[in-house]
């Protein structure tokens, strides 16, 4: 016969207490690990920036990275930017109907692309293209003891691996973002003229309306910061990768996830700092 005995309350309390302590320790450990990682990234960033002059003294290595990371990304930028511009125009036209004159279509698309869509979408796409590539490459080198071999040969990995990649990341993103913005606006113009019944004159005069060089400045600042974040986090996760194929995969995933989150965080911070009081 089954008995319905109540559990001993003291034992229950003890178990709950034990579990609470264990969970608190785990959370505290995770928070400490995160703080250590943030500190590690900042410390690494400082050391790498210090090495930029040396990296610039090796133009061959910088050019190689520029080709691998920058030029090779152009087809992807071309496709994504064109479609982003086209869909922006269609969405804007839909929202403007019977409310806002169509001469503002070019204005709204240009502002949207320059201040937000261009830099953020380029950065998010590039975190998958450049950041993951750096993380996977460095993690594989670590797994195959190539990083140790460099250290043993007194060829510091920060100087020979990190500095050229991060330098190219910082330089490539503003260029890619500029191209992306141009293509997005061109895509919007194309879809307006061909498919939405807006004349070329109306769209282009709208793009010139309220155009400000400051918008381009904000776009380039965002692109520069995003370039640093993507390449730095790619390298950081690569060099701290665990062993084996699992370690390489995790490093790649962490690099994309962390840089995506940081891009959105810094997007807000830069916008808040640079756009908050402008025009008031």
């Amino acid at each position: 016969m089954a008995t319905n005995r109540l559990p001993d309350p003291v034992a229950v309390l003890e178990a709950v207490g034990e579990q609470t302590v264990r969970s608190t320790r785990k959370v505290a450990g995770t928070v400490l690990d995160m703080l250590a990682a943030v500190g590690g990234v900042f410390a690494m960033c400082g050391r790498i920036l210090w090495l930029f002059p040396q990296a610039l003294g090796d133009p061959e290595s910088v050019m190689k990275q520029a080709m691998d990371l920058g030029v090779a990304s152009l087809p992807l930028i071309f496709v994504t930017s064109l479609f982003v511009g086209m869909v922006s125009a269609v969405s804007a036209k839909y929202q403007f109907r019977n409310v806002v004159p169509l001469k503002y279509l070019g204005t709204s698309v240009t502002k949207l692309v320059l201040l937000e869509l261009g830099p953020v979408l380029t950065a998010l796409v590039m975190s998958g293209r450049i950041g993951s590539s750096i993380a996977a490459q460095i993690a594989t080198m670590k797994e195959k003891e190539e990083i140790d071999a460099m250290t043993v040969l007194d060829l510091p990995p920060l100087r020979y691996l990190a500095a050229p990649r991060i330098l190219v990341g910082i330089l490539a993103l503003p260029v890619l973002t500029t191209i992306s913005c141009f293509l997005a606006i061109a895509g919007a113009w194309g879809v307006c003229v061909i498919g939405l019944g807006v004349t070329s004159y109306t769209f282009l005069s709208g793009t010139r309306l309220f155009f400000s060089g400051y918008d381009v400045f904000v776009m380039e600042i965002k692109a520069l910061v995003f370039g640093l974040l993507i390449s730095l986090l790619g390298y950081y996760h690569g060099i701290h990768a665990g062993g084996g194929a699992k370690g390489v995969g995790e490093a790649t995933m962490k690099s994309v996830v962390s840089s995506s989150v940081m891009i959105l965080l810094f997007d807000f911070l830069i916008a808040f700092l640079l756009l908050r009081n402008t025009g008031s």
Partner: protein, 265 residues
């Protein structure tokens, strides 16, 4: 090794009471419990022990890739195992290491691999000199100069290790560390590597530390053999002393026997 004069009091590397633990999913694993070992200038010391026993960890401490939890690593009379040791580059340039899988830089050709450190440490060195040194080193490891343009992916395991040795020798080290140099190779290629270790010592008068579990290799290249067992160095002696010792753990390992009891009988 016969023919090389070794001063037993001239100790180039000293490991003093080295301790090292790693955190794994199963908790803390103490790999080195109390390792004390001295390497004499000019000798070839072979460290033997079971796989995963910490032999490579010892090598990585010698060259500063790992910092111990306790104890000291002394190279040329200097303690290099403290975190505030700033002169690591000076010591590293005296040392070279041959990694288990070669660790060649995949994105560079064989020639570029060998010349990389040479070019970076000797600014302005003429390309003719670099090419000459690369060809000489390739000759030393019995490879045709045409191999300079090949990529590491085109080489066999044995060739990769030989090229890795050439890359190590390009910076003219005084100490060469070999991490499992014959592991994964057929007996004939392994013997080629053993001969290269001997030739390197003869020609460059280097001090060598070889980590291996290959007893054929150990007997062939060693001046002295040290056995690592459960985080301690339990035996140091010449190859003949290893063969004749009554230490049951050494005999178990040398004979490749699974049970200790059968050795002790």
């Amino acid at each position: 090794m016969p023919g090389v004069q070794i001063d037993p009091n001239d100790e180039i590397i000293q490991l003093r009471h080295l301790r090292k633990s790693f955190w794994t999913t199963e908790g803390e694993q103490q790999v080195l419990q109390d390792v004390t070992l001295s390497i004499r200038r000019g000798e070839t010391m072979v460290v033997i022990g079971v796989s995963g026993g910490g032999k490579s960890v010892i090598l990585k401490h010698m060259i500063g890739l790992l910092q111990p939890d306790g104890g000291e690593v002394v190279v040329e009379g200097r303690v290099i195992s403290t975190p505030d040791y700033f002169d690591a580059a000076t010591i590293r340039r005296k040392m070279g290491m041959l990694f288990q899988m070669g660790a060649l830089f995949d994105s560079m050709s064989v020639g570029e691999n060998i010349a990389f450190a040479l070019r970076e440490h000797n600014e302005g060195i003429p390309e003719d000199s670099v090419d000459e040194i690369v060809a000489r080193l390739l000759g030393l490891i019995n490879l045709n100069p045409a191999f300079a343009s090949k990529m590491p992916s085109e080489l066999s395991g044995g060739m990769k290790k030989r090229v890795s040795l050439a890359r190590t020798l390009a910076v003219e080290p005084e100490i060469v560390l070999y991490d499992e140099p014959t592991t994964g190779l057929d007996p004939i290629t392994a013997d080629v590597i053993n001969d290269l270790i001997l030739d390197t010592q003869k020609q460059f008068h280097v001090t060598s530390v070889v980590v291996t579990h290959d007893m054929v290799s150990a007997y062939k290249v060693a001046d002295r053999i040290a056995m690592l067992y459960q985080g301690h160095i339990i035996f140091v002696g010449t190859p003949d002393e290893v063969k004749n010792t009554r230490n049951p753990y050494v005999q178990q390992f040398v004979r490749g026997q699974r049970k200790l009891e059968s050795v002790a009988e």
